[in-house]
């Protein structure tokens, strides 16, 4: 069998194998590229409310906190509380943060919601799983390298690497070179 046939078989089958993970990396790649502008893993929703003055006593006591949660209609159990200053009480629940102004009764509610699928994609892309996934990701990287190399030799003739392909490959190689030249 000719080498080009093997080349094309490898290119085709690796392409099928890598398609799923490539989509995961593409989506996550764009998401984390813009990490300065947004949180790619969580969405934070804020709302304001007002409650009657907080009952007297230690604001961090379970009785007072449960009373506040009850007034806000918050049914989930709280994790812990914190007082960043003498006038504020922060209550942490499984849903997020409730910040209460103890003097005015103004409340800011923050709900943390996970970005479904995107968070999982980032988890894999950024290798937070580590351990066994590290080797899986290495294999994927090698497969991408093979895809790139075999891709160069799929076609022969004018549209192959000896013709149009050479120009396009050269242009592709120039992209990082130009950016490095500009930035460094």
């Amino acid at each position: 069998m000719k080498w080009r046939r093997w080349n094309n078989i490898i290119h085709r089958d690796l392409g099928y194998l890598c398609a799923g993970l490539t989509i995961v990396y593409v989506v996550s790649g764009i998401a984390v590229n813009h990490v300065r502008d947004w949180n790619p893993n969580f969405r934070i929703e804020s709302a304001n409310a007002r409650i009657d003055p907080v009952p007297a006593g230690d604001p961090r006591s379970p009785t007072v906190i449960r009373e506040i949660l009850s007034r806000l209609g918050e049914s989930s159990e709280y994790r812990d509380s914190f007082r960043p200053d003498s006038g504020t009480l922060e209550i942490f629940t499984a849903n997020g943060l409730i910040s209460v102004d103890l003097t005015t009764g103004d409340v800011r509610l923050e709900r943390v919601k996970s970005r479904t699928l995107l968070r999982e994609a980032n988890f894999l892309h950024l290798n937070h799983a580590k351990k066994l996934w590290t080797y899986m990701a290495d294999l994927y990287a090698i497969a991408l390298g093979l895809l790139a190399i075999t891709g160069l030799f799929v076609l022969k003739g004018k549209k192959g690497i000896t013709g149009r392909g050479a120009w396009l490959t050269g242009m592709g190689l120039l992209v990082p070179v130009v950016f490095l030249w500009v930035y460094l």
Binding site: N39, N41, F42, S46, H128, A129, K131, L132
Partner: protein
């Protein structure tokens, strides 16, 4: 035509044919398929086992090596004397970097106080869902001296992160910041 899928594991081909006419019923082939399935199950178990959180919490970064914790209030009483020391601190997570998860703040054992833990971007990423959870963090206590411009820039950055309006009047000159450069952390199980 009966559709078939070759999984590429030797000669076994799974197809939609009735089982009675299929090679899978031959003892040797069934055994080899069982072995392969066992191997696959082992791999899956390894993957799941390796990535699942430990019973005591979720680990971030390096293993914790210190056994004794230092109280945050104790550190904040005399921060200068702890600069350069490797410390293990414990407290409730009261804030997490909203963008990159590159820092968190632990509540002190005393009201109105907290300690900032900074980690290298991307090396450790703390999730927003850690807020309100108990955490143990190990790292090196450090002192940062900022010029007025640097302090202004940091205040602007923090305002951006919190989605609040930047108020330059909060910076009155050069600033000194004490923080723990986090190396490893253990955050209690997150729902």
């Amino acid at each position: 035509m009966i559709p078939s899928v070759n999984l590429g594991w030797g000669r076994t081909t799974f197809s939609a044919r009735p089982r009675s006419s299929h090679r899978l019923l031959e003892g040797e082939t069934v055994m080899s398929v069982n072995l392969r399935l066992s191997a696959l199950c082992g791999l899956v178990a390894m993957a799941v086992g390796c990535s699942s959180p430990e019973s005591s919490g979720v680990k971030y970064g390096e293993e914790l090596t210190l056994a004794e914790t230092t109280r945050i209030s104790q550190i904040l009483d005399d921060p200068e004397s702890y600069v350069g020391q490797r410390l293990l601190v414990e407290g409730t997570v009261v804030n997490v970097c909203e963008m990159r998860g590159c820092w968190l703040e632990l509540a002190s054992d005393r009201d109105f106080e907290k300690l900032r833990i900074k980690v290298d971007d991307g090396v450790i990423v703390f999730p927003m869902s850690a807020r309100g959870q108990k955490a143990r963090v190990e790292g090196v206590f450090e002192k940062l001296t900022l010029t007025e411009e640097e302090a202004l820039e940091q205040a602007r950055h923090q305002a951006e992160e919190h989605g609040t309006e930047f108020d330059p009047s909060v910076v009155s000159g050069p600033a000194t910041i004490y923080q723990l450069k986090g190396i490893g952390a253990l955050i209690e199980d997150q729902e």
